[in-house]
Amino acid sequence: MEIDGNTLIFIIIILFLFFSSPGGDGVSSQYEYNQLQTLKSIYQNEFDTFKNLTSTTNFRNITGLKLSYEDVQGNPDLNATYPLKGKVYDHWFTNQTFQLLPDEVMNMINTDIWNLPYNSKNLFPPNITSTVMGSIKLHSNNKYEKINMPVPRFYEPPKDFSDNTPPWGETYVTEWPSYGELHNVTFDSGELNIQISHIDKVTRQINSNKKYKFNKEDENWKLLSLKIDFFDKAENEKHSINSLAIYDIRRGRILSMTQSAKFHSIFALPHYLNFENNDENNNDTELIFNESKQLLIDYWNASNYIDTLTMGNLEGAYDNAYFKCEFMTFLQLEPWNQYTKEQLKLVNEELNWPLGRPANLSVVPPVKITKGLLYSPDCGVLLNMENVKGPRYELKLRTIRTHLLAGVVLIATEIYLLLRQMQHTNTPSSVNKISFYCFSMMNLVDGSLATLYFIASSVIPELYLPLVISAFASFILASIFETRYLISIYASQINEQYVGVLTLLRGSTAENDEERPVVIPDEASISSSLYGRFFFMLIIFTFLILSSTSWPRQIRMIFEYSAIFILNSYWIPQIFRNAVKGIPSRRRRRRDSNTVMTRRQNKTPLLWKFIIGTTIIRALPVIYVFTYSSNVFRHHKDVRFAVLLSLWLLFQITMLYTQDILGSRWFLPRHAIPEGYSYFKAISSQHLMEHGQTSEVNTVDCSICMSEIPVYVEELPETHKVDQHSYMVTPCNHIFHTSCLENWMSYKLQCPVCRAPLPPL
């Protein structure tokens, strides 16, 4: 390409666009700068208010906390302005006059959820990193008033390019957008999973990787990040919450609240950690409040909360405000009373960094949430959790690691079997009998497995090594051995590409008007086209798999079941291929092996070792996932499908076996396979004369090797000793040595002398 001025400018503009991405905080315009400054100043003001809060004073001008439940009761259109006329700001009591929660919910929390008395007997694990799962039940979705939470208008994107100042004021949204999450919960019961991770260290700057510890009360308080997902069984309605949480280790309580543009819940956490109003516990209340407040202040300062705000945070908060309900989550953990405090510490250290300390990790109990409650103040939805538990993250990783390594063993066995299979078919004529599609299907599965492992290895850094080993093993299986084998299969079958299946089946040319290509591509071009096809299919299929995980359950299951079923039908093309190539029955093969026919390879194309081994290796993971209810993939149990799949595979193997025993065409009616052209036949003396031979010689010259061929001439009894299988007569009446012509026919199905099409063998 010639590079002139215009091209150069174009390149420079492209490069400029590439490298001019906004730095650090993501601000790319004056408008955005003002937006972010507004947000920062609001946070700063609110934080100043928060610092002065005590356990007995109300929130003042904090976003989302301006109204209480009682304020909106009977007055649902009340605007959230500060100061509200007649509202008490100097006191704080745990009732609906002050809180966002109705009294009823508060009582529920007090009596049902956080009802474990505080004493030193109950020990709770300090580290609860895990993914817990359980069910969720709707308590009510229309009983409670919705509290107005206006969205500040400065979050809105600019209307035009000249807009520099974000608008002021707040929007009271009455019509929520239809494309976000539903602002209600409509199912009665569903599934829930909570991903719990600890926030022990924070960064002080944007784009910095250095992390600092901030928690001074590490023994008693933990800051968590919760990712809560809940959905109905059919997964039509999904809710997903990301929130900050405080974990009170002494009491086993977890409180989390979502944060968005309309609800700055970080300042509300200390007030909602305790609902007991008794006088004798007043000290306790104050203690909880002060300690948790200190934790939040430490976190705020250590993370430079305001300075590290970015446009991404701002936009995320705005999206969350519009597309999601705010949720308050109250969880009670089950104590691990079987351990003493020292043992707990030991178990924790061993999990963290396994050195073989005397801790039996196989009996570590799961992280279990005995009771839990989700309440949305702005949507008025109350949900209950049941039976929520899951193993510690480290233990989960251990099981996944073992499973991955077992998978590597399976792949290694498959590689070995494939190498043996390749060795078994080391001639073009035997490779020719193998189905290209059979191996393409296996190749597709192995290739996508490699890609998925590879993607996972960058997502889960803890499992990097086992994942990378798995990715490598499946990669060499798929893209090196299988693809190379496919190339040789393809190359050996290329001369049949333009021959119809029926013609192949009959072994004769019915019509001579078939177009045959003159130029046969060489191995290099075949391999490049096959590799291209392989990677294209791989990318498509991998994306399909990845995106299918987020589809609704119904569609996902249809996709999964049909994909597994189709990809496990890999022997079907081979059965078909066998039928086309017409491999004789075992008995006939044995008999023929004593005659001249040995030179025509009559062994079955696939090794039985390979067939059985491959089937087991490929079916084992699927059967495991479908029958073992506590499998690592959290896949549902469906024994019926597993049995069905096994039967289907068994059927395919049985078909291959019967083809081996009875001949590969036993299931075809005899009239479907008419006698094709036979290359082996006696010739007449007139025919011999046409070849310019006198009657004394009885031989013809083979135009491939230029040597003589003794032929069987019908009229001459002295030539009847000649084996008819030692030479071949083409339909165009040319005569060659069997080996010469067979060699040629593996390249081209054309007569070497007159270019007339030859019927395949």
């Binding site: 190498l419 078919t425 001639t427 290895s457 080996s739």
Partner: protein, 279 residues
Amino acid sequence: MMMDKDSSTQPLLPTHDEVCAKIIKVVFTDDRISPISLNITKISPVSKVTIIWLRKMIRELKPSETKDHALRFLKSGTIISASAFNEQIISYINSTNADAFFIHCMIGVDELSSEEVLHEEQNDDSGRLNNVNNGTETMGAIGFDRLRSIGFSDEEIELLRSQFRSTYGDVLQNNDVDEGNDVDGSGGESDRTSRRNIRELEEQWMENGAGDNDERFNSVPIANFKHNKDLLVGLCVGFCFGIFAIILWKIDGLFNKRQRYCLVAGMIINIMFCLVRGF
């Protein structure tokens, strides 16, 4: 030559008048040395007559010619070991054969120290032939070795052979022997059989021409089990050891050429995976 002729055509020397005298006649390969006859009829027990005794006798009778030279004995054209000599001597004495027991003595060309002489001779006596490889060659050259007689040099034959092995080495039944790994001097039993197999294959190839009617020669290179094994080994080692595989790469004789190529490929995969992790 003349000596040989004499000894084989003429009857025994007339000095022995006993009817059934048992005589060992030692003929030297060097025709300047006259043959010796040793009457062993009166020696008893017969077990005294060993190859060591024989050697001692020769050295006593021909001290100047045999000093500082190794003595080796040939019987029926092959080097005879001590045990074989004993067996044959016993059967000779027990037989009614009136002929002498002929044995050829080879006097080594090189001048050796007495320890070396002892060493050489002990090797012979114990039947440990240090040139096992020559064993097949002395039996009659087959395969590409035949080309030596029509003027091919050893290097050319070796080149041909390596070419042949890289194409058809896999055809051999004995797949577990790694001929591709050109480490010589390891003379295991399996190695020797595989060596013979490949000679036979070469012979067949030269006789019939490739692709004639033996499917074994018409093979697909991709399907070669040994090549694929090399590929696998190279890739795995390269991938697992990463940069450190270079150290292994440098070690001579550890990997063959194909494995080395794959080692580099495995290393590249390793580095690629690492790069992706970095992002």
